[in-house]
Chain length 176, copies 2
C-alpha cells in the first residue's frame, strides 16, 4: 500500500498516451499491483462532463483529475493517468498533491506531424477542414514539460520498451 | 474485485456519518477488503474546494462524489461515502451510476434535537446564534431517503451493531 503512486502521461492528442497507459496498467496488474486507470476522454464523460475546452475548463479538468488520483493513491492504488494536460502550471499543481517520488511525469514527445498522421479519432483531419477548433497542438497551445521524469518519442520507442523503463525505474527506487 | 461496492451514508450534520464510515472502513479492511473512504468535509478541501453551499453547488458536490466513487469501485475498491447529501434526486443519481446491489444507501435518522445536542463542530450553536446560515436540517432542507437500504437511529443502535448489520447483509448477498 505504501508504494502506491501516480504516473501522469502527457502529450499531444494521438501521441500514444492511452496506449501506454493501458499497457502499463496491465503490466502493473500482472505484477500484483492494485491499479486504476484515469483517462481524459473517459473522465469527460462523467466527473468532468460539465467542462468545455476553454483554458479555464482545461485547467479545472486537470485539477479534478489530480485530486481523484490523489484520493486513489491515498486508498492504496497505483494510478495511471493519460491526459493531454497542455499547461505546465496545471501539471505542476498536480505534482504538488503528491510526496516527492510518488509522482512520475511521462512526456510523450511524439511530433505533431506524426500525431496528425496517426489521427485515430480524426481530430486533426477535422481541424484541418475547419470543422474543429481548439485542438491542442494545432490551434490551441501545448506547453512541453520543463522537467519530466521521462520523455519518450513513440516513433523511436515501442510501448513494451517504455513500460519496461518505467517499471524498472520503480524497482530501482524501491531497492534503493 | 468483482465484489467491490459503494456504501452511501446520508443524514443530518452530526448524525454520526463519519463515525460509522470510519468503523465500517476499519472492519472491511480487517476482513481483507480493499477500501476507500470518501468524506464530505475532506472532499470539500480538495476536489470540491471550488464549491459553496447553494443548492446547485450541493448537487454538484454530490455528483462529483458519486463519480469518484464509481471510478473507485471500477478499480476494485469498496468505497464508504459519508455525505449529508440532502437531496433525494442527487442520491438517486448516484445510485444510478451503479449496478443494482452494488450501491447500499444507509440513512442515519438521528433526530435534529440529538444532532444539535451533540454538535461536535459547533455548527448548530453557530446557526442558533445567527453566525451560520444554510445549515442542513436547521435552515436548509434535508430530504429523508424514500427507500434507503438501511435506516439506523444512532440513539438506539451502536456503531458496532450498525457495522455488524451492514457486513452481515453483504455476506448474505454474497452467499445467495
Amino acid at each position: 500500500m505504501g508504494d502506491s503512486r501516480c504516473y501522469w502521461i502527457t502529450g499531444l492528442p494521438a501521441a500514444g498516451k492511452t496506449t501506454l497507459a493501458m499497457a502499463l496498467n496491465v503490466s502493473l496488474k500482472q505484477g500484483g499491483v492494485a491499479t486504476a486507470l484515469l483517462d481524459g476522454d473517459e473522465l469527460r464523460k462523467g466527473l468532468c462532463a460539465d467542462l468545455g475546452l476553454t483554458n479555464a475548463d482545461r485547467s479545472e479538468n486537470i485539477r479534478r483529475a489530480g485530486e481523484v488520483a490523489r484520493l486513489m493513491v491515498d486508498a492504496g492504488l497505483t494510478v495511471v493517468c493519460a491526459f493531454v494536460s497542455p499547461f505546465e502550471k496545471d501539471r505542476q499543481r498536480v505534482r504538488g498533491l503528491f510526496t516527492p517520488g510518488q509522482f512520475t511525469e511521462v512526456y510523450l514527445s511524439t511530433s505533431l506531424q506524426e500525431c496528425a498522421r496517426r489521427d485515430p479519432k480524426h481530430l486533426y483531419e477535422r481541424a484541418k477542414a475547419g470543422a474543429l477548433t481548439g485542438l491542442t497542438g494545432w490551434d490551441s497551445p501545448y506547453e512541453a514539460p520543463a522537467h519530466p521524469d521521462f520523455t519518450f518519442d513513440t516513433q523511436c520507442t515501442s510501448t513494451e520498451q517504455m513500460v519496461g523503463v518505467l517499471l524498472q525505474s520503480i524497482q530501482a527506487t524501491a531497492g534503493a
